[in-house]
Symmetry: C2
Subunit: 451 residues, 2 copies
């Protein structure tokens, strides 16, 4: 008998799961229905800041695969503008609302890929015109339209994480006066303060203003449109406001259905992406995953994880075997010509996880110092005291700096010590690295600091 | 009593050893004498092609540290233009010849860092003017002088390895007609033929001519100056010839002194860089090292290994403990805008080492496909049949492609399988990678090919 797979959410995780299941099981064996509440599926949410900045000129470029491809080539019954409002785990049905009706759809297998919910500040004026989130493709298109119509002069970005910084760059590239507000004393809280200070410097160098340690208290409006941001330290005039406060796991539907939710607020899944209810799977920004260094659950909203998790779920539903063993917390971003990357635990995270860490910062160049285009790269290694085990690493530099984090992420994956890392056979030629690669220098200094 | 350390060779390995020993033991405890037969010490030999190409304009830029620094700041008795002609292991002395005299110098500890010996073809005309090696800084300066004085129009590069390709680029950048001759059917024999074919295409695209499968038979000369290169397939007119045939380990002195030489022709050393004779150490291009994948000895001439090995020897001589556990065979190079990298074993090397390998080539982009500056990257994974264990990887691409080899080198270091690699937490953001990093795509395809 034909089984029915229902997928909630048409973005990276959901559509990867649907595609992988289909690759292994034909339409006669598996019926696949996917519900997406928006109008776009399978697009790069991480690309939205670059659409707004102008690096990407056509929103369609962000779309990896169009609905027709899923429908015609993969025989996936993809229903847009269709929001799942409830999961009935007992009756094995979901409740769906589309512009015309509400109905129930039965499933044998279910994939929950409901993504993240943007954090929105609960302060006066938060619904005013000119205040923009940038989570969905629609959000990005709407913001571009606003910039075009209203030609704002002053932008305030609320939140100094990855999205906040990327949106600060986007606004600077539009020629706006940009102020970034963050409640913490540093932007990029996922970095150690000494490294995030470099990011703050970079933003100032690009012409941005930082208002750190200021809590958002509300928005001043005029005629329903935002005119200023109120913080604990005063008022900042604003013609447009970007909310970059990140997301929380979109686990409400699952929670209401009695599916186990973890301590991070994400849906609990095992390494095969199974939830606590048999036949119900989850993947993407709505789940929590395992941090291989802290050995604790963690919720990280990132497209690459969503893709891998969705793929694993789909392979398993398709009858194969695939796992998502966890993450080491790798991330990368850029701010104009400045590159930022991190992996593993920050010093504060390491302490919270029960480690006694120490940190060493080294400065080097991306190419041999004498080679044209050699750029500065600063690398911080965080290692365990007494053992020298690598716990985390952070990079701030210029062109060619950030992607080096990958070698550190693989070293971290294997629990290498900094002493072992000094022997790593990393590639060397003058256009690509100094004779001691920045990573080797960092490992050496960290090993010497241990001895 | 003060011990005496003698170092033979003033380049990366020798001077690293001397410096590290000095850091741990002061002049009252350790007397250090270093002999260098040339006039320069501690320079980047790998930078010479870029000096010739014009990327680096001052030869002095390639010098990491000057003689005065070693002499004055480190109290190392550095003697230039001083060639060690023999090692007397029994009497613990070396025989030294300088422009004025020959003398013997006693040692308690000895570091042999005699480097590599460039392979020179034993064919008629090989000593003609206009035929240039590019091993030493003097060679590079001499070649630049020749280009300047004689304004050659046609260059022939003999040898299609790293140096050959880098010198082909250098000659193209001087506006010369460039022909590259190699006895093999492919340049870059350290790559698999399907990947080296991409390098050959790149060279043609940049305007070079390839003469493959042609054996060098001699040089035509006129008035003592080269006028053409004779190969098994005919004559190639040449105003200047660059020899890029690589090097062999410079182990003759050691061999004559009765020190054990390995099957590769390099000096045999253990992981602490000790030779077969107590108190005699060796490091750099003159030694053979352990290949961690093939588990066989291998001789690889590369500045980064030389530096690490010299450092390890120096730390050990200084009373510390440091090892050089071996290599996985990582290398990187570029040809104009094309980047080439490899690590581990090629398919042929894997077969020779007793593995049954399979290979998978994937094509992707260095950034998200929609992001400006996304460049093509082709990745080949070589893995073991039945286990999927990674044995090697090769990358040919454009800007941003090659340095990705480092993550693969670390994966190889740990004997990862391609299936495990599909879960690696590599950094993702649109300016830095597609949502599936090229390495993840390569691992996935290799894992699928296994299943």
């Amino acid at each position: 008998m034909t089984e029915r797979l229902v997928v909630i959410g048409g973005d990276a995780a959901g559509m990867s799961a649907a595609s992988q299941a289909r690759r292994r099981r034909g339409p006669e064996d598996l019926n696949i229905v996917a519900f997406e509440r928006g109008r776009h599926v399978s697009y790069s949410a991480c690309g939205i800041p670059y659409l707004v900045a102008g690096d990407v000129t056509d929103p369609d470029d962000l779309v990896a695969r169009h609905p027709a491809e899923f429908r015609e080539r993969q025989r996936i019954d993809l229903r847009l503008a269709s929001e799942v409002t409830a999961i009935d785990a007992d009756r094995r049905e979901v409740v769906v609302r589309d512009p015309e009706r509400e109905y129930r759809e039965p499933f044998d297998q279910l994939v929950i890929a409901t993504g993240g919910v943007p954090r929105r500040p609960e302060v006066p004026g938060a619904l005013a015109l000119g205040i923009h989130g940038v989570q969905t493709l629609e959000d990005g298109i709407r913001l571009l339209g606003y910039l075009d119509r209203h030609r704002p002069r002053r932008a305030v970005v609320v939140g100094g994480g990855y999205i906040g910084l990327e949106m600060a760059e986007a606004m600077l590239r539009h020629g706006l006066d940009v102020t970034l507000v963050d409640a913490a004393e540093q932007p990029m809280r996922t970095l150690d303060p000494d490294m995030s200070a470099l990011v703050a410097d970079a933003l100032r160098q690009e012409g941005g203003t930082l208002r750190l340690g200021e809590t958002l208290e509300g928005f001043a409006t005029s005629g329903g449109r935002v005119t200023a941001v109120h913080t604990s330290a005063g008022e900042i005039p604003a013609d447009v406001v970007i909310l970059g406060l990140g997301t929380r796991p979109g686990s409400d539907l699952a929670r209401a259905a009695g599916i186990a939710i973890g301590e991070t607020g994400g849906i609990r899944v095992d390494r095969r992406m199974r939830t606590s209810v048999p036949g119900i799977w989850a993947a993407g920004d709505c789940v929590e995953t395992f941090h291989l260094v802290s050995q604790r659950p963690v919720a990280i909203a990132l497209g690459t994880h969503a893709n891998k998790q969705g793929r694993a779920a789909g392979i398993n539903i398709g009858g194969g075997y695939a796992t998502f063993p966890g993450v080491v917390g790798t991330a990368v971003s850029k701010l104009c010509a400045h590159e930022v990357a991190r992996t593993g635990l920050s010093t504060a995270e390491a302490v919270a996880a029960g480690f006694a860490p120490y940190g060493v910062v080294t400065e080097s160049t991306t190419r041999a110092g004498y080679f044209p285009g050699a750029r500065k790269i600063r690398t911080k290694i965080i290692a365990e005291r007494t053992t020298g085990r690598l716990l985390g690493a952070q990079i701030v530099g210029e062109e060619g700096a950030a992607k080096r984090i990958d070698a550190l992420a693989v070293a971290l994956w294997h629990g290498m010590t900094v002493e072992e890392m000094t022997s790593l056979d990393l590639s060397y030629a003058p256009p690509f690295a100094p004779v001691w690669d920045p990573i080797l220098i960092a490992a050496r200094k960290a090993a010497e600091a241990l001895a």
